[in-house]
């Protein structure tokens, strides 16, 4: 049995000291060990930006792809090998700007993968421009007079487009993050986990302290029921999206793979590539 240490690869992350992404990395490693994975059965597919480097810092298979496209890469991989555990990861730019289309459609499609967004409300690697998650009025290099666009309400959006697993966490809460990632991996379908992961270098507004002051734990809300979609939406709106914990889970809906007609029970990677002569004859005769 692998332990979380087996998911370490001794590559020193190039994140700034204090970056929230360190603990996301640790949470993925712990969750992978906790659900009983071996490193070769995990693939982490990441986007571009500071957060995108995460696939290089975990001892598992992985691809550091192109900006905004971690999700289709991850879905393609999962379709190829349904026995693999596939985690997609990236930043709020990846997920809610350049890759928003993929986020929406991956949620609707509901392929059985886990998607972790490291949300810092800023573009860090390009040295401090506004992000789709930045609050209105937020001043950055690209919004010197303050952002005049409202932020994407990511969690509400996920609920709207048919998510079956929506969670949010804060990078200081390693325990909760780990539990949510474990639950996401176990969830039969697409799991979205948005993690507030502060950028200590370029975001001087949404700091650790700011989140501590503003975040509400769903576990502190009495009787909160994550299977109640309407209430989930209402709760998100009441708290301006600033909640942590499992927001919503639909355990009934089948995953994309389960609904697909004819899709092999065994990984497609094990398919016999040589076509049967009789079958080929049948195919060609249909054109005569």
């Amino acid at each position: 049995m692998a332990t979380f240490k087996d998911f370490r690869n001794n590559v020193k992350p190039n994140w700034c000291p204090g970056c929230g992404d360190f603990s996301v990395q640790a949470a993925i490693q712990r969750a992978a060990a906790n659900v009983g994975l071996e490193p070769e059965n995990l693939a982490v597919i990441s986007g571009i930006g500071c957060s995108g480097r995460i696939s290089g810092y975990i001892n598992s298979y992985g691809v550091h792809g192109i900006h905004g496209r971690a999700l289709p890469l991850a879905q393609g991989l999962k379709m190829a090998n349904r026995d693999l555990t596939v985690i997609a990861a990236g930043g709020d730019g990846d997920g809610f700007a350049i890759g928003t289309g993929h986020t929406v459609h991956a949620i609707r499609r509901n392929i059985d993968i886990t998607y972790i967004v490291m949300d810092n409300h800023i573009y860090g690697l390009t040295k401090g421009q506004t992000s789709p998650r930045s609050d209105a009025g937020f001043k950055t290099k690209s919004t010197p007079n303050g952002s005049i666009e409202p932020p994407v309400s990511a969690m509400e959006m996920a609920l709207t487009v048919g998510a079956t697993f929506v969670a949010q966490s804060f990078s200081t809460d390693l325990k909760e993050m780990t539990q949510l990632i474990e639950a996401g991996i176990k969830h039969k379908g697409f799991a979205l986990i948005n993690v507030f992961s502060p950028c200590v270098t370029y975001n001087k507004v949404n700091t650790y302290d700011w989140y501590k002051e503003n975040l509400v734990k769903l576990s502190d809300i009495e009787g909160y029921d994550p299977s109640d979609r309407v209430n989930a939406m209402k709760t998100l709106m009441e708290h301006n999206g600033l909640v942590t914990g499992l927001i919503y889970q639909d355990t009934e809906r089948k995953s994309y793979q389960e609904l697909l007609t004819g899709y092999s029970e065994k990984p497609l990677t094990e398919a016999n590539l040589k076509l049967d002569e009789e079958y080929f004859k049948k195919l060609t005769s249909e054109f005569v």
Binding site: Q75, G101, H105, F287
Partner: protein, 577 residues
Amino acid sequence: MIDQLSWKVGGQQGEGIESTGEIFAIALNRLGYYLYGYRHFSSRIKGGHTNNKIRVSTKQTRSISDDLDILVAFDQETVNLNYKELHDKGIILADSKFNPKRPEDTNAVLYEVPFTDIAAELGTSLMKNMVAVGATCAVLDLDISAFREVVNEIFGKKGQQVVDKNMEAMKAGYDFLKEKLDESALMRLAKADGKKRMFMIGNDAIALGAIAGGCRFMAAYPITPASEIMEYLIKKLPELGGAVIQTEDEIAAITMAIGANYGGVRAITASSGPGLSLKMEAIGLAGMTEQPLVIVDTQRGGPSTGLPTKQEQSDLMAMIYGTHGEIPKIVIAPSTVEEAFYDTAEAFNLAEEYQCPVIILSDLQLSLGKQTVEPLDLSKVEIRRGKLLQGELPETENRGYFKRYEVTEDGISPRVVPGMKHGIHHVTGVEHDETGKPSEAPANRIAQMSKRLRKLENVKFNTPVYKNAPHEEADLLIVGFNSTRGAIEEAITRLENDGLKVNHAHVRLIHPFPVDEMLPLIQSAKKVAVVENNATGQLANIIKMNVGYAEKINKIVKFDGNPFLPIEVYTKCKELF
């Protein structure tokens, strides 16, 4: 007796023009004739002129013909737009419903046939196309019973009554015209060999080739003229346990295909020019991370939305050089439907052997032109997976990452897929070292860049150039790629009849360019004509760049949206002498 005939049916889009052509063509194909069809259509569903030109021959043809024997018109627009193609003894069969007028400057005879009225009398005007096919049979002096089988297949599920009604409509059309035609108006086709051959479009062959080549996953976004590939695979891949995903966009389609290939499945994506433009960044990722990937580009009129339903071959440069930076990439261009099948299957071998993107270049004429195809031989399809390691791997040195990007003599590194123990490595579009870890060190950069590009130095493709070069010293070498092959072949027959010695080279491996194959052909020709459906002569420029001899090379280009006719190639070549 004639050994070939050209027939065209035209009318408003959405009034059954396609099915009229389809029924006519399938029946004749069953009799053993070789068919070659080309549809003229617009990017709309209802309305607008559409036509389907079908050539019937006792020999295989790969081009539409210069002129026309029979024009079936459901409206005056069809007559006006197409009558000039009719030769002197041509016939127009026009629906009397629209009071057809014969243009004055033609010798073609116009017969009014009440297509719609006859059909309506028999129950529904929808059957007017059957009346038209029946009238055509009268001209061909062809027994309509040959159509019963096809009519049965198409309408059988609607019940015997519908089948009978349709046959009745055909017979009525036949009888109506028969008595008006005198012997000299008849166009009797020489008997065909009766062999039953496939009748398919290039996109069918590409899809079939993908299945034969071991493809089990596709991700694609609908686009003209590529969608048929996805539609076919969506029907068939589930029978093999595979799957097709219609994605949210072109970028998702290609990145999903990359993800699946990385996972170890042979996966494909297919699109046309606009889609390929969107896929370029991802093609770079596949090149940089050395993932196998098969991409189909069925070219249509560009740039931008351009002429979305028309023939063009203007993506050549984009496919060779597209994506920023420099990657290894293979571009192949089948010129016949049969080649489209074999080349697509082979593309999956090349992709795995060279661990790079392979683009199958097609064009609208090849992808959508429906034609009779010689039997396809599955035993000619090989499955070769290159340096993909199978079975258990030994433990790595110091339990480090697997050297997925090991620098080797041929530039190709051993490949493993996720799930394999001791195979863990990193994959990144960032420049990386042998284990995939990011590295910007100059020496590493040079080693990895050189290694990647070295892979293309020895690309083996069975027929890089299709050659019909009987002359040691030729007056003219004609060069083309994709669907121009038929028009060029027919032009050559005529040029040779005029006493010119003409060789033909059709380039099938576009990149890396087969210099060794092309050089002697060019050297041994007095002049070279490069025939292509684009405005700037892209293939001609590629030849000049790779082979030289710029002074010999003449560009014969056509970019009006229509395929080359043999006569056009012939005339332009004649002008060179």
